[in-house]
Each structure stands twice: as structure tokens, then as C-alpha cells.
């Protein structure tokens, strides 16, 4: 049975599972194996684990070269260094030649808290999403983290997968039908839709439970694949509810919020309110929950945004004279 644990811990366990199945799997890390949890694979398969040292740009190139020889490289480091420092190497050496490299980046978002801005990746989804050929995955809980790791190993092509640092509650049964590119519906509802990604999905569920007490039915969608994004599910949410709240531990520009806005603007315009980091650098914090609340990436803000959409709809309905 899968218990509450950090998604990165579940990733480490799944890598071992994958390593046992697939002798072509090879793992690289840039001196953060204990944090990314690739250390679990390193202990089990030392001959297939390679430290690249604090040299992420080179590590991406090494993985690209290795992939051309038929091996299946998983490359891990912190999201800050995979998504930003080694961005051009990911783009030109991996994504452009469509090499079968899996980049699994951990410690993403404001929630890493204590280390502060130098280590808080809050733009990686936006950057990686803008690179052609690259799939972008951001699972929410240990069950879907395992399923996502298994699924990207099967998928032929480059992938960026984003994981956080903190402990995650289990949100799904182990037999949940997980498919890359298809959102998971965690809760039905037709008054409002909350589309969330990554560690913060749990807060979206909590917000929906609170809204229910007020008689507001909030649909909760777990957008674990940021690219290709599930356009169908977004359009359905836009069509069937009063509006959409997006939730992410990431800048509201270019990440999940941006992606959802692009789809609704083209397909079915509606009100979207984006919960996330409001285009600012964050601070260190001793308590990650308090830090997220300080930047309004929390349950209360989701509730408030949901109410504000319903209020805006009520006002606009009231202002239209009866014909």
C-alpha cells in the first residue's frame, strides 16, 4: 500500500522498480542524489548510476549522447538547475533531436521554503512548456508519481517531470486510471472548476470541500500533464461551470494558469482566476505552509477566487436587463 510521502521519495522507489524491469535504464544525478532520491537506484544498481557532479549543463548533454546508443537515461537534479541553468542544453541537445531522455526535477516551487529564491524554481513549467517536442509532467501525489514515472519510461521521447520537496498525502486509489495527457477528475461539480497541478492539488481538494459547505459545487481537476495539455477537459470545464480557478506552486505567468488561459481564449472564453506566485520572487521561510499562505498559494485563496468568479457572474447577470 502506498502511504503519504514526498513524491520525490516515491520517484526514487519507482526508479528501482523500473531498473529491475529494464536493463537499459541508466540514471544520472548532479550531486543531489539524496534529495532527488536517485540514491535508491544508485545503491541497487551502482553500475548503472553516474554522478555528473555540480555540472547540470554537461549532465544533460551526457544523457543526450547516452540516449543515442539505445540506453534509457533518467536525469535528476533540482528543478531550478534542470529548468533554468541547463535550459539550453535541454532544448538543443535533448528536445530538438527528440532524444529519449527523462528529466525528473525535484524540489520545485516556493514550497522548498528555507533555501529561498536561488533554489525556488517558479518558472520551470513556463520555460519547459515553450520547448517543442518536450512533454511536461507534474504529478500531485505518490500514487500518480509512481504511475507517471512508469508511463514516461514507456513513452518514446523527451520528458520533463516536476516534483516538489514536501510530504504529499495520497489522493488516489492505486488502481486509478492514469494516462499521460488526460486530466484526472478528483471531484465532480458544476458551479466552478478548479484546475490544479503538482503538490498543491491537495489544497484544491480541501478548498472544494469548504465550498461544498456553502452549497458551491466545485469540480477539481488534476492537471498532471502540462504539455500536451488536456484541451478537451478544459473546454468542458469552461462550458459547464461559471469559471476556472487554476492553482500551481509556480509563477502565474506561463505555467498551468497561462496554459489554461490559452486554451479557453481560443476555444471557449470564460473567467479564469490564477492562484500561484504573482510574478514576484518569494522569500525563505521556516514553515512551508506559512510561506505558501504568505504568497497566497493556499486553500483560502482558492476559495476566495472561486467566490469572486461566482460573484462576477451574478453581477453580470443582474446587470443584463430582461428582454
Amino acid at each position: 500500500m502506498i502511504e503519504a510521502q514526498a513524491n520525490r521519495v516515491m520517484y526514487g522507489k519507482t526508479l528501482v522498480e523500473l531498473g529491475e524491469r529494464n536493463p537499459k535504464l541508466i540514471v544520472f544525478d548532479a550531486d543531489v542524489a539524496k534529495s532527488t532520491n536517485t540514491i535508491q537506484f544508485a545503491r541497487r544498481f551502482p553500475e548503472r548510476f553516474f554522478q555528473a557532479g555540480v555540472a547540470e549543463q554537461n549532465m544533460m548533454g551526457i544523457a543526450a549522447g547516452v540516449a543515442t546508443t539505445g540506453l534509457l537515461p533518467f536525469v535528476s537534479t533540482f528543478a531550478m538547475f534542470a529548468g533554468s541553468r541547463a535550459c539550453e542544453q535541454v532544448r538543443t541537445s535533448i528536445a530538438y533531436p527528440r532524444l529519449n531522455v527523462k528529466i525528473v526535477a525535484t524540489n520545485a516551487g516556493v514550497e522548498i521554503a528555507g533555501d529561498g529564491v536561488t533554489h525556488q524554481a517558479t518558472e520551470d513549467l513556463a520555460i519547459m512548456r515553450a520547448i517543442p517536442n518536450l512533454m511536461v509532467v507534474s504529478p500531485s501525489d505518490p500514487v500518480t508519481t509512481r504511475k507517471a514515472a512508469l508511463a514516461i519510461a514507456e513513452y518514446e521521447g523527451p520528458v520533463y517531470m516536476r516534483l516538489g520537496r514536501q510530504v504529499n498525502a495520497v489522493l488516489y486509489d492505486e488502481d486509478v486510471g492514469f494516462r499521460l495527457g488526460r486530466m484526472l477528475k478528483l471531484r465532480e461539480g458544476s458551479d466552478i472548476a478548479i484546475i490544479a497541478t503538482g503538490n498543491i492539488v491537495e489544497q484544491a481538494l480541501r478548498a472544494a470541500a469548504e465550498l461544498a459547505k456553502e452549497g458551491i459545487g466545485a469540480r477539481v481537476l488534476d492537471c498532471h500533464t502540462i504539455k500536451p495539455i488536456d484541451r478537451e477537459e478544459i473546454v468542458r470545464a469552461a462550458r459547464e461551470t461559471a469559471g476556472i480557478v487554476t492553482v500551481e506552486d509556480h509563477n502565474v505567468i506561463g505555467g498551468l494558469g497561462g496554459a489554461v488561459c490559452e486554451v479557453v481564449a481560443e476555444e471557449h472564453p470564460t473567467i479564469v482566476r490564477r492562484v500561484g506566485l504573482q510574478d514576484t520572487f518569494a522569500s525563505s521561510g521556516r514553515d512551508f505552509r506559512m510561506l505558501l499562505a504568505h504568497y497566497h498559494i493556499d486553500c483560502e485563496t482558492i476559495i476566495e477566487k472561486a467566490r469572486s468568479i461566482l460573484h462576477a457572474r451574478a453581477v453580470s447577470r443582474a446587470s443584463i436587463p430582461d428582454s
Partner: protein
């Protein structure tokens, strides 16, 4: 021992391997091939109207030697998994490998005249998905070298006997990624890897020693755990000797620092720094071709 002569009936992998073992060292023949590559470099960049002819010209003897004497490759099977690999990390020198690949039969010569055109097999910088015989996409300086090191590591993990050759420019050595890759190759003792530095002493904005000095080069590689040798990059005998040694290196990757002349074979290019990113005009091109053919 040579394979038995006789009609070629099959094209089994074993046959292929025999037929693609490195060829005999014949400096006169290599010189003639080098001349043809130079002519095609001038012609294709003139037709394309952009590109880097002079940086391609400095590498011609090295690339000719690799493609026509050293590497085990098969034009009929560019993705042959036991082939030796070549990564042009100084990807702007692409016209040189395009000329070599056409000459070696990977694609028809006419393709050269499509260089840099929309939809061409021949992109401005090497593209492994578009050009038969190109082993790695490269051109953003420093990146190709890391990929070459990764290919060498993959060869070792897969227990393959192929060798990986990476060519870098002297200006490229200013990129930090080059030394991250060199450190990795030294640390993991990748002795199936040979790096060749085409030290033509110039870069886009001028002389390398004035822009940002990279010398001494061989000592830097040695400090990162490599064996290294300095040679004249236009002298086939020295090239042959260095590559022979590199193939025998044990426990260390091998760097060949080849002193070259940018624009080699065309006096106007040899004596001016303006040709880095400048192709010849149509009339200049024909004059240059005559000069190369006479030389």
C-alpha cells in the same frame, strides 16, 4: 588479413564490418580527397549565401582522415550500431562534414547545393535527424562535446567496441561546458573517446588570443586526466600517427590539439579574419576553386 576476394552476394553485418574497417593510410589519395572537399565547401557556401567556409577549411585534413581512413562507418547503413561516431562540436564547420559525407556516399553530391535552404537535409548546423551520417545534433558551442562524452559512456555501458571522435574549435574552449565534459570523461576514464581541437586561432570577433586566450590547450586536457598531443593539423603523417596512438590509449581519453590555418587552401581567407561567417561571392568562389585545384 584481407577478406577473401569474390563477388559480393550478401550484405550481412559481419561483411559490413569487414568492408568498413579503417582503410589503408594513403596520404596522396587523402590529399586528393581533401582537395575535393575544399572545392565543395567553397561551392556550397557560395550557393547558400551564408555559412562559415574558413572554419570548415581549417578542419579538412582532419575530417578527410577520419572519414576516409580512420572511422568504421557504412554509408549504406548510417545508423549501424557498431559504427564509430563523429560529433562536430564546432558545428559551424558543418560544410566540411557535409562535403565528406557526400564524397563518402551518404547522400548524392547535389544535396550539397541545398545547404541552408528551407527543408534541406543540410541545416546550418549539424542535425542528426535530417542528415544521413550525422551522429549528433550540434552547433551551440560546448554542447556537442558533452554529447560525444555521453556517446562514449553509452558505448562502454553497452560494451560496444566503437570509438567516438569529437571535434572542437579553439574559440569553443572558452565555453565552461567543454571543461565540465572534459572533467567527466577524465573522471570516468573514457578511453574510447578522442577529442580533436581544430586550433585555427581565430573566432568570430578576431584572434582567439586577443578575444580570450585559451592556450596552453594540451596542458589543460592533461590536467583533466587526459593524454594529449600537439600536431600539425594539415600534415597527414602527423594526423595518422596521433590517431593511431589515440586508438591505443588505455585508461584515459585522448586529446589531439591540431594547429591549423583558418581558411587553409585559399590565400585570401588564410590572410584575413573577415571570412569567419562570410561566404564567397560567385566570382570569388570560382577563383578560390581554381586556386584549390591548382594547389
Amino acid at each position: 588479413m584481407k577478406p577473401a576476394a569474390g563477388p559480393k552476394l550478401s550484405h550481412s553485418p559481419a561483411d559490413r564490418r569487414r568492408s568498413n574497417m579503417s582503410r589503408e593510410f594513403n596520404p596522396a589519395a587523402l590529399q586528393e580527397t581533401a582537395r575535393r572537399l575544399r572545392v565543395n565547401i567553397i561551392r556550397m557556401t557560395a550557393i547558400a549565401g551564408s555559412g562559415h567556409p574558413s572554419t570548415a577549411l581549417s578542419s579538412v585534413e582532419l575530417i578527410t582522415y577520419l572519414y576516409f581512413c580512420r572511422m568504421r562507418i557504412d554509408p549504406g547503413n548510417p545508423k549501424w550500431e557498431d559504427r564509430d561516431r563523429f560529433v562536430l562540436s564546432k558545428g559551424h564547420g558543418a560544410p566540411a562534414i557535409y562535403a565528406a559525407l557526400a564524397e563518402r556516399g551518404f547522400f548524392p553530391e547535389e544535396v550539397l547545393w541545398t545547404l541552408r535552404d528551407v527543408g534541406s537535409l543540410l541545416q546550418g548546423h549539424p542535425d542528426m535527424r535530417k542528415t544521413p551520417g550525422v551522429d549528433m545534433t550540434s552547433g551551440s558551442l560546448g554542447q556537442g562535446f558533452s554529447c560525444a562524452v555521453g556517446i562514449a559512456l553509452g558505448g562502454r555501458v553497452n560494451q560496444k567496441g566503437f570509438r567516438v571522435y569529437a571535434m572542437l574549435g579553439d574559440g569553443e574552449l572558452q565555453a565552461g561546458q567543454v571543461w565540465e565534459a572534459a572533467m567527466f570523461a577524465g573522471h570516468y576514464k573514457l578511453d574510447n573517446l578522442t577529442a580533436v581541437v581544430d586550433d585555427n586561432k581565430q573566432q568570430t570577433d578576431g584572434l582567439t588570443k586577443e578575444i580570450m586566450n585559451v592556450h596552453p590547450i594540451a596542458d589543460k586536457f592533461r590536467a583533466f586526466g587526459w593524454d594529449a598531443v600537439d600536431i600539425d593539423g594539415h600534415d597527414f603523417s602527423q594526423i595518422h600517427e596521433a590517431f593511431q596512438k589515440s586508438a591505443r590509449s588505455a585508461g584515459k581519453p585522448y586529446a589531439i590539439v591540431a594547429a591549423t590555418v583558418k581558411g587553409k587552401g585559399v590565400k585570401a581567407m588564410e590572410t584575413s579574419t573577415k571570412w569567419h561567417g562570410l561566404p564567397p561571392g560567385p566570382e570569388e568562389a570560382e577563383a578560390f576553386v581554381r586556386e584549390i585545384e591548382a594547389g
